[in-house]
Structure formats: structure tokens, C-alpha cells
């Protein structure tokens, strides 16, 4: 089932001359884990916000083409209606704290209160979201007293508690240490396995290569490639788009080792290990 269909999407922010998104078309199936990569200003965040309706409803600006999310045409649907289907986590956790709640637990309830979720249903949702992101013990703390990493986990949990079908994450692990980001990736993978469609912008290529089903490469507002991590990261022209392939792929590239079946470079540590051992024998 097609969850997201984007056709010929073009968008220009108000008061700018260049297109932030230029003729982008793709389709995403239900339950897929999609990684979005590209250098700064490639249009990654704009694309995320276009899936949520913030582009064009919040910013206005010039809009062309169409984005269909779960059968709804985004340009004709209000943001609050889309918020029932799509959850969006931003990069800066600090500005995602609503500021009107005194504890982390209440903060997670903010979105649910707005959606009109009955009280009895709220608590199990909040508790499971907190458990998934490992922030149960901060329930009674003030949201502003958390560290950057904890706040980032809280921001993700607040969106997950709203139980969207699709979750869009714009660099959700920028404030987390390596172990923290690994935990967050695993939590999101667990959601993806339960059937949630995940779209994630991330600069940590090793993680993208390991967790994504497909990778979308953007540059200057254009969709360059949208394919499996192996195919995208085995391209010869990655440097031209400001991207470095995962370190394991680069090592194998340097050694000239390809996976024999596909002719592509291995992406993860385990694959690379197997291929290097094979090659050595």
C-alpha cells in the first residue's frame, strides 16, 4: 500500500529566489524505513515539513505538484488534521518543549490533550512512549531541567505518544552520544517493525546504511537517487553531493572488495567483515 505519494513537488520559500525543492517525485510504502541524506541546504528539512503540511500552510510561499499522505492531499488538509497521521520531530529539542507543562509526563500529554484523546487512553500511551525511549525515571522532572540528550528523547517520545502512522525525524540524534543514538535508532526500528512508516534525516551514514530500507539522496532541492543503501552508497559520484559513504563501504572500496552476488560494496560492519574474510581466503 502506498503511504506517501509525492508528484512533481516544487517549493520556494517566501522572499527567496531559489527553489528549495525542485520537481521531487517518489512513493513510500507502509512500514518502510527511509533515510534522507544530503548536504546542508539540500532541501531535507523542507521535504520533512512538506510531508506534515507545514510547507506550504505555515510558511506560505510558492508551491507546485502534490503530496498525498495516506490518501489526504496535504495542500488541501489542515496541519492539525495531518497531525493525527504524521508525527514530526525537529532537530532542536529545546524549542520543542511546549513550555506550558511543569513535568515531563504532562509534556508528553500535551499533544494528546490537543487531539482530544480520552484520559484513560492517555496514560498507557505516555507510559509506553517513555519506556520505549528510556525516560521513565524523568517523569516528574521539569522538561527544561533535562540535558540536551534527554530532551531529545522526550521530544521523540512526545510525538510517538500521539501514535502517528508515519513518523518523520529531522536529525533526531544530534544531541545524543553514540550509545544514546544507537538506543534511539533501535527504538525507532522497533516502531518500524510494528508497521509505522519512518522517514529520517540523518548525517550518521553508518546508521542510515544499517537501519534504512531505502535511502533518498537530495541535492540542491532535487532528488538524485532513491534506492537501497547498498546501491546509493556504491555510487561513484557521492563526493560531488557532499556525502561520504559509510566507513565500512569506503574501506572495502579502497581494497576493491565487492559483495560478489550484487557487485556492490558491503555497508555494515558485519557484511564488511564477511567479505574481507572471504577475500583473504
Amino acid at each position: 500500500m502506498k503511504k506517501i505519494v509525492v508528484e512533481g513537488l516544487k517549493y520556494r520559500y517566501p522572499l527567496t529566489a531559489e527553489l528549495a525543492l525542485n520537481d521531487v517525485s517518489f512513493e513510500i510504502e507502509k512500514g518502510e524505513f527511509i533515510g534522507i541524506i544530503g548536504r546542508n541546504l539540500a532541501g531535507k528539512s523542507t521535504l520533512c515539513q512538506a510531508l506534515m503540511g507545514l510547507v506550504p500552510h505555515f510558511y506560505k510561499g510558492a508551491y507546485g505538484g502534490s503530496v498525498t499522505v495516506d490518501g489526504l492531499n496535504v495542500a488541501q488538509t489542515e496541519i492539525c488534521e495531518l497531525a493525527r497521521k504524521v508525527g514530526l520531530v525537529f532537530q532542536n529539542p529545546f524549542t520543542q518543549v511546549s513550555g506550558s507543562k511543569m513535568t515531563v509526563y504532562e509534556e508528553l500529554a500535551f499533544g494528546l490533550e490537543n487531539l482530544g484523546v480520552p484520559r484513560a487512553e492517555m496514560m498507557p500511551r505516555i507510559e509506553s512512549a517513555m519506556a520505549l525511549l528510556g525516560i521513565e525515571r524523568f517523569g516528574k522532572r521539569n522538561p527544561f531541567d533535562l540535558s540536551g540528550g534527554q530532551m531529545q528523547r522526550m521530544a521523540i517520545a512526545s510525538v510517538i505518544a500521539m501514535a502517528p502512522d508515519i513518523i518523520v525525524l529531522d536529525e533526531p540524534t544530534s544531541q545524543l552520544d553514540p550509545q544514546g543514538s544507537e538506543e534511539v535508532f533501535q527504538a525507532i526500528q522497533a516502531l518500524s517493525r510494528q508497521g509505522m512508516t519512518v522517514i529520517m534525516v540523518e548525517h550518521k551514514m553508518e546508521k542510515i546504511a544499517r537501519y534504512s530500507d531505502r535511502v533518498m539522496l537530495l541535492d540542491h532541492g532535487r532528488l538524485v537517487d532513491f534506492d537501497t543503501p547498498e546501491r546509493v552508497f556504491s555510487r561513484d559520484d557521492l563526493a560531488q553531493y557532499g556525502i561520504a559513504a559509510p566507513i565500512f563501504a569506503r574501506i572495502c572500496q579502497g581494497l576493491g572488495i565487492r559483495t560478489p552476488q550484487t557487485g556492490l560494496y558491503p555497508m555494515t560492519l558485519d557484511d564488511a567483515y564477511d567479505q574481507v574474510v572471504n577475500w583473504h581466503e
Binding site: G99, F110, L112, N114, L115, R119
Partner: protein, 255 residues
């Protein structure tokens, strides 16, 4: 975290009374002495408020509030005592300055009224979590948007002060003089306030995006995480307060 709130979490009986009853109490504390002119009603209300403040164990926090208002009240007493239009009867003289009975009585009535209002408000402010107050107002029909503005201001202003401090430290670490004579401080003002304003503009935009994502402008009937406190005792308090106000009006009409 320091929030802009005077709330004292003592967990007494008074703290458990619902905010709407406390608002009604403020109304009664202002209304009854106005309807029943004379000192008795005002002093009685004031005594009641002070007793409730003691019960809530927050009397110590009221003292600075009263102290501050004293400054204004003393000047009222002096001016009315000297220059009240109905002044006839000299009460006492201080170094040739005459204080009149009528003016002093008039100013005493003002003082009782001000202290009354102050104590009644202190009872609300010191014993109610701001978020609880706003939540119960939203339940009563206040727009959730307005409620959000009220409650977020209490937390976001201290955050902005924090940002201001960070920016001050950052500029100082790059060698900017921010302390010293008035001129030095004035010169330091622009490079400090610029980043603070830019920073808050950017974070306001980001926060409003984040609020939209969390269905802030949804038109669905809002629900609440906290249960509404509907207890018989709260209902009794409200009825008693309304009855007292009605009785005051009746008394005034009859007598």
C-alpha cells in the same frame, strides 16, 4: 528550575481546594466589604484571609508583599490625614502639622480594603500551581490558546533570562567589557541585546512549528491529563461563598 511563580508546595488542606473556589473567594473578599460599608466586614474578611494563610503555612511569604504595599499605604494615610476634603476634627498634631479624624478614617478604610485584596490574592497565588489554575480556567471555557500564552510565559521568560546570561558570558569570554561605569554598560548593551532578540525570534518560530505538529490548533474537544477535582467539599465552599455574597446584598438592602 526557577519559574516565575510564587507557588509554595506545602500540601496543606488549602492547597487541595480547587482554583475556581479560590477565585470565588477573592471575589467574595472584595465584594462583601464593598457592599457592607464600615470596618467590621472588612476586618472580618481580612482576619479570615490571614487565618487561611496561616493554615496554608504561607504567612511568612505574605509579609514581604504587605511590606511593599505599606510604602504606598503610608503615603495614602499621610495625604488623606492632611488633605482629605471632609476634614473637620483635628485628631493630633505633629510639629505643627495637623492630622484630621475624617481623613484618617477614610485612609484606614482604604488600607483595610487593599490588605484584604492583597491577602485574598496571596491565598490564590501562593497555594495554587499556575498550571492548575490555568487548566481549570480552560475547563471553564477560557480559550486554550490564551491559556497556553499565560502558562508558557511563566516558564519561557526564565528560559530567556538564561539565554541572556549565556550570551553575556559568551561575549565576555571574547573580551567584551560588560561591567563597570554607565558608559561601558551602555556600550555593551547593543551587542548583547541583538543576539538575544534574534535568538528568541528564531526559537519562537521553531516553537510555533513544534506546537502545530502537536495539534495545537486542533478543533477537537480538548481533554485533560489531570482529573477534574469535583468533590463535595469544593462544591460546599463555592455555595457558601455565593450565599455569603448574596446575604451581604440582602443585608444591605434590608437595613
Amino acid at each position: 528550575m526557577k519559574a516565575l511563580s510564587l507557588y509554595q508546595d506545602n500540601g496543606t488542606l488549602i492547597h487541595r481546594v480547587d482554583p475556581i473556589s479560590k477565585l470565588l473567594y477573592i471575589a467574595a473578599a472584595i465584594f462583601i466589604p464593598v457592599v457592607l460599608t464600615g470596618f467590621t466586614a472588612g476586618l472580618a474578611m481580612l482576619g479570615l484571609s490571614l487565618m487561611l494563610l496561616v493554615l496554608a503555612r504561607v504567612l511568612r511569604k505574605v509579609v514581604p508583599l504587605i511590606g511593599f504595599s505599606m510604602l504606598v499605604l503610608i503615603s495614602v494615610v499621610i495625604i488623606q490625614g492632611l488633605f482629605y476634603a471632609g476634614n473637620r476634627q483635628v485628631m493630633f498634631a505633629l510639629g505643627g502639622v495637623h492630622f484630621y479624624r475624617e481623613g484618617l478614617l477614610f485612609s484606614a478604610a482604604i488600607c483595610v480594603r487593599v490588605l484584604n485584596i492583597l491577602c485574598a490574592f496571596a491565598l490564590l497565588v501562593l497555594t495554587t500551581r499556575p498550571s492548575d489554575l490555568i487548566e481549570s480556567l480552560v475547563r471553564q471555557g477560557l480559550s486554550p490558546h490564551f491559556g497556553y500564552v499565560l502558562s508558557s510565559v511563566l516558564q519561557i521568560i526564565p528560559q530567556m533570562t538564561g539565554t541572556m546570561e549565556t550570551i553575556t558570558d559568551a561575549q565576555r569570554s571574547r573580551g567584551m567589557e560588560t561591567e563597570g561605569s554607565l558608559m561601558v554598560r551602555l556600550r555593551a548593551f547593543l551587542p548583547l541585546i541583538g543576539p538575544v532578540v534574534m535568538n528568541s525570534l528564531v526559537s519562537t518560530r521553531e516553537r510555533s512549528l513544534a506546537l502545530e505538529v502537536r495539534a495545537f490548533s486542533s478543533r477537537a474537544q480538548k481533554t485533560f491529563l489531570n482529573e477534574e477535582r469535583v468533590s463535595t467539599s469544593n462544591r460546599v465552599i463555592k455555595i457558601v461563598l455565593l450565599a455569603a455574597m448574596a446575604a451581604a446584598v440582602a443585608w444591605r438592602v434590608v437595613s
